[in-house]
Amino acid sequence: MNTGLDVGSTTAKIVRLESGIITASKVVPSHRWKELLEYGNKWDTVETIATVETTEAIQTPEATEIIQATETTETTGTAETIVSTGYFRKTVPHTAAITEITAASLGVRYYIPDAQVIVDVGGQDTKVIDLRNNTFLINDKCSAGTGAFLELAAHYFDIPVESLGKLHTRASRCARINNTCGVFAISEMISQLVGGYTMEEVICGIHQAFARRIAQMIPPVETVVLIGGTVLNQGLVESFESIHGSTVVVPPSPQTVNALGAALYGKKLRPEQ
C-alpha cells in the first residue's frame, strides 16, 4: 500500500494507492494535515510515524527505528510507504519526500499518459512543467497568477474564494483589468466598479487578467493540463482556454493529483506494492 501526502501552503491532501488503484483520498486545510493520517481504516503504522513532527526529529534514533520498523513490516505486506510532497514535505512524516514538480508529473501521467504541459496553480506559486523536455518554470516571486491573487479579490468583495467561479458565469460582459500585481489590480477593480461594471463583471475581468499572466509562462503547445485547487474555478478555466488558445484538460480530482503522484513515486520505490 502506498500513501501520498501533499501538504501545501493552503490545503493538505492524501491519496492511498493499493495495487495501483486509488482506494481513498481526502483534502483538508493545511493546518489540519494530521487528520489525514487518522483517516481511513488501515493507518496504524502511519499514525505511529505521525508523532514525529519535524525533519530533524525524523533523523533521531527513535524516528529511524520507526521508519525501519515500517520497512520491516512492509515486507510482510501490512504497512505502507508514505511519500510526502508540497511545501511542507520535509516537515511531515515521510519515508521519502519529493518536490511538487515530480509529484505533478507522475500524478498527471497516471490519468493522461501523453500529457505534454502541466500548469499547477497553487496557493502561493504557479508551476509550468513541460514533460516533452523535462523542464519547468516556477513563479514564486509575486502573487500574480497564483491563488493568492484570487484570495485578494475575494477578500475585497468579502465573499468566499470558492464562489468566484459561479459569480463569473453570471457576468454578461467582462471588465478589463490590466494589472496582475495584486495591489494595483484592486485599485483597477475599484475604478471599474465606479465606472459601472457589476461585481460579477469585475470578477470575470480578474479571471482574465489571471489567465493572461499564466499564459505568458506557457510554451506553445496544443493541450495544457491544469491542476491545483484553483482550477475547480470554472470561470478561470474558461478564461484561460480563450486566452491561451490551447485545449485545456483538467484531470479528475485536480486538487489531489500531486498526492497521487507522491503515492505513485512510492510505488516506484517499492514496485512489489
Partner: protein, 313 residues
C-alpha cells in the same frame, strides 16, 4: 614597485604578472560581501563598485573589461574612475580580430608599465595545465565540483600569488564522487557562495562550469600567443561560437542536463531563450540578485531538477 590591479572580468592575468603587478579579481569579494549597494542594476558590479569606493578593497588601479563583456561594468567602472582610482578600459573584439586583440593587450601592458618578467608567461601556463587536469578530474568523477569550481574561478587572478596558488591547487582532494546526475552550469557564475555545495547536496555533479573553464582554457607564452588565444574568449564573441563550444563540452563531459544561471539586470539573461532553443538537453534557468546564501526558491528548483533528471523518462 608591485601594485595591486583590480580587474572586473577576465583579462590575461599572466600579462599583469609579467608587468610585475598583482591582479585582484574584484568579483571574488562579491558573493560574501555584506554591502547593500546604493544604486544598482547587476549586483556584481554594484557591490565591487561600492567596495572600492568605500575603501574596503585595497587596489592601486582598476582594469575594466567593457567591450564584448559588460556595459554595467563600464558605467560602474567609470564611477570608480571618477572617485580618483587610475582606470584602464579593456575591449575584446566581437569579430575575434587578432590584430585588434593584440593592440588591446599592448595598451594594457603600457598601462601596467610594460613587460618586465617574461618568465611569468611560462609559469602561469604550467599552472593552467594543472587547472585543466583538475577540471578533467571532476569530469572523471574523481574530484568534488565545489572544490574544482573554487580553484578554476581563482585562475582569474591566481589569488595574487602564483607560487602559493600552486600549493592550493596541490591540496585539492582527489576523491571519488557519487551523484545522481551530471550537469553543466552555463552563464555567468552564480552570486550565491554555496551554489555548488547545494547542487551537490541534491545529487547534482557539476561537470562543466562554462566561464571558469575559459580562465584555464585561454593562455599563451608570449604576447602573440595571448592575442591568438584570448580573442576566442567565448563570452565576448558571437553567441553562435558559444553555443558550438558549449555543445562540444556537454558532449565530451556526458551531461544529463544544463543549468543556466542568470543574474538580475544582466544582458546575458536575454540569451536564455537562445540556449533553450539550441541545446538539446533539459535546461533549468535560475536567477540570482544580491549575494546571499542559496535561497529556498533556488533549492526547490535544484531539487526538482535533480528529481526530473533521475525519475522522468
Amino acid at each position: 614597485m608591485t601594485d595591486t590591479v583590480g580587474i572586473t572580468a577576465l583579462i590575461p592575468p599572466e600579462l599583469v604578472y609579467a608587468c610585475r603587478h598583482r591582479p585582484l579579481d574584484v568579483n571574488n569579494v562579491v558573493p560574501t560581501s555584506s554591502i547593500n549597494p546604493r544604486s544598482k542594476l547587476c549586483a556584481w558590479t554594484a557591490v565591487w563598485r561600492d567596495e572600492i569606493m568605500e575603501g574596503r578593497m585595497d587596489i592601486d588601479s582598476l582594469v575594466v573589461v567593457a567591450g564584448g563583456d559588460c556595459h554595467n561594468a563600464l558605467v560602474d567602472g567609470q564611477k570608480v574612475a571618477l572617485s580618483g582610482v587610475p582606470t584602464h578600459y579593456f575591449f575584446y573584439p566581437f569579430d575575434r580580430d587578432p590584430d585588434y586583440m593584440a593592440s588591446q593587450l599592448k595598451g594594457l601592458a603600457r598601462f601596467l608599465g610594460g613587460i618586465k618578467d617574461k618568465e611569468m608567461f611560462r609559469t602561469i601556463s604550467g599552472l593552467k595545465e594543472k587547472g585543466l587536469a583538475l577540471d578533467q578530474l571532476r569530469v572523471d568523477d574523481r574530484a568534488r565540483a565545489s572544490d574544482v569550481f573554487s580553484a578554476l574561478i581563482s585562475f582569474g587572478d591566481l589569488q595574487g600569488d602564483p607560487a602559493a596558488f600552486e600549493e592550493v591547487l596541490d591540496t585539492i582532494p582527489h576523491t571519488d564522487v557519487e551523484y545522481s546526475s551530471r550537469v553543466a552550469l552555463i552563464g555567468v557564475p552564480p552570486i550565491y557562495p554555496d551554489f555548488h555545495e547545494v547542487a551537490e547536496s541534491f545529487g547534482l555533479h557539476v561537470v562543466y562550469d562554462e566561464l571558469p573553464y575559459e580562465f584555464v582554457r585561454l593562455g599563451g607564452n608570449d604576447m602573440q600567443a595571448l592575442a591568438g588565444s584570448y580573442r576566442n574568449y567565448s563570452f565576448s564573441g558571437p553567441i553562435t561560437g558559444r553555443i558550438e563550444m558549449i555543445r562540444q563540452e556537454l558532449d565530451r563531459r556526458r551531461v544529463d542536463g544544463v543549468i543556466h544561471y542568470t543574474q538580475f539586470a544582466c544582458h546575458h539573461t536575454l540569451e536564455d531563450e537562445i540556449f533553450r532553443a539550441h541545446l538539446d538537453y533539459p535546461v533549468l534557468t535560475v536567477q540570482g540578485d544580491l549575494p546571499r546564501p542559496s535561497s529556498e526558491q533556488l533549492k526547490l528548483r535544484l531539487e526538482a531538477f535533480s528529481e526530473m533528471l533521475e525519475v522522468m523518462p
